[in-house]
Symmetry: C2
Amino acid sequence: MTLRIAEIFGPTIQGEGALIGQPTVFIRAGGCDYRCSWCDSLHAVESRFRHDWAPMQPAAIMDRVAQLSGGQPLMVSISGGNPAIQDFGPVIALGRKAGYGFACETQGSVARDWFAGLALLVLSPKPPSSGQATDWAAFDACLAAAGDAPRVMKIVIFDEADLEWARDAAARYPGLTLYLQPGNPETDPDRPVDPQGLADRMLWLVEATVGRGWLTPRILPQLHVLIWGNRRGV
Amino acid sequence: MTLRIAEIFGPTIQGEGALIGQPTVFIRAGGCDYRCSWCDSLHAVESRFRHDWAPMQPAAIMDRVAQLSGGQPLMVSISGGNPAIQDFGPVIALGRKAGYGFACETQGSVARDWFAGLALLVLSPKPPSSGQATDWAAFDACLAAAGDAPRVMKIVIFDEADLEWARDAAARYPGLTLYLQPGNPETDPDRPVDPQGLADRMLWLVEATVGRGWLTPRILPQLHVLIWGNRRGV
C-alpha cells in the first residue's frame, strides 16, 4: 500500500489550534478534494505538484518519522491537503505500537474509520471566504467515525461573514471546543510576511469575537507564521 | 474581608500557557513574596505602588468581573504579584456559584486550600535567571492543596542555565504538563517591543529544547506581547 506524501518534517512545534506549542513531526499528505481560495499549502493540493509527492509505504513513513525524532515517540500531525482521501490507518497502527500519538487535520468531507485511533481529530470546515461549501452530513460522519477520540473544530476567519458562519457552526456543535484562527492573506513562501499585518488581523478577530459577546471560542494565530514567516519545513 | 487588587481587565484572550487563546477576565492581585530580576508586573509587586492597589471586597470584585463580561460566565485568571499571599477563596466561591471558572497563576511558594476550587492551577517556579530560590517543600504543598484540580507547570526561560534547571524540575514532576516560555527582556510599558527579538528568542528556545532531544514540554511565547506589545490592560 502506497501513500502520496508531500513532505515529512520536524520536530518543530505545532503552530495552530489545540496542540499549539507541542513538539511535533508533520506528515503532509498530497492531494485534496477542496480548492480553498486562500489555501496556504497548494504544493500539497494541486495536481501540477503531484510529481513532487513521494509514494511511500507506511513502514517507510514511520521510519522517516523515527529518524527525525531520534527514535523518541512524540506527537505526529497528519495534515495536507486532505489526508482523509488516503488510508492512514496502517501508519497510525504502526506508530501507536511504537508509542507515537497522532493528530489529524481535515476539513471533514471524508469519514475514515482510522479517525478512532487518533489522539486528536481537528475538523476544520471552511467558511464562505474559501469559496468551498460544507457537506454537513459528511462532517457528521467524520465526528461519528472518531468515536471516543478527542475532537475539536477549527475555523479560519477572514471577515465578518466568516465569523457569522463560524457562530452558526458553533451553535450546531455546542459540545466541540472551537478554535478561531485569523486568515493569512500572504501565502507565497518566497515573500516575507508582514508581522504588523498579522498582528492587526489577530487583534481584529479578538475584538470582533469578544466584542459581540461571544466568549467561548479560543482565538489563536498561526504561531509558526508569526515566528518563521511562510517558510516551509519548520 | 478586603483584597488588594492592582487591576481587573478584559475580556481579552489569555496570552500564555495552557489556556492560551481563551477569552478571559484578569484579576491582578497586588503584592508578592518574590522579586524576580525580570519581573514584567512590578506595578503589582513593589510596595511603592501599593497606593494604586484598590482594597476590594469579594462581592465588589465579582461585580466588576460581571460588568466587564456583560454578565456572561467565562474564565477568570487570578494573577499578580503572587495571588496566593491573599485569600481568594470567597471570590472563587462567589464566582463559581454564578458559573465562572477560575485559573490561578502562582510561583508555588504559598499553599492555599482554595487551590482545590480552581479550573486550573498554574505553578510557575522561577529559574536561576530570576535571582529567586525555589522552596520545593512549599511547591509540593501547593500541588497537594490543589487536590483533584487540574495543575500544570510553567517556566520562563532566558538562557541555557534556565533550560537545564527546567529539565530538572520536569524530572521531579513527570506527571505535570510543562510549558516553557521565552523570557521578555523588555518590560517597560512605555517602550515598544522588538518583534524580531521576541521571535528570535522563541526560535532559540524551540531549537535549544527540541535540539537536545527534549520533546515533552510545550513551548509557547507570550502571545499578548507579540500582538499588543507591553501595553497594560489588554
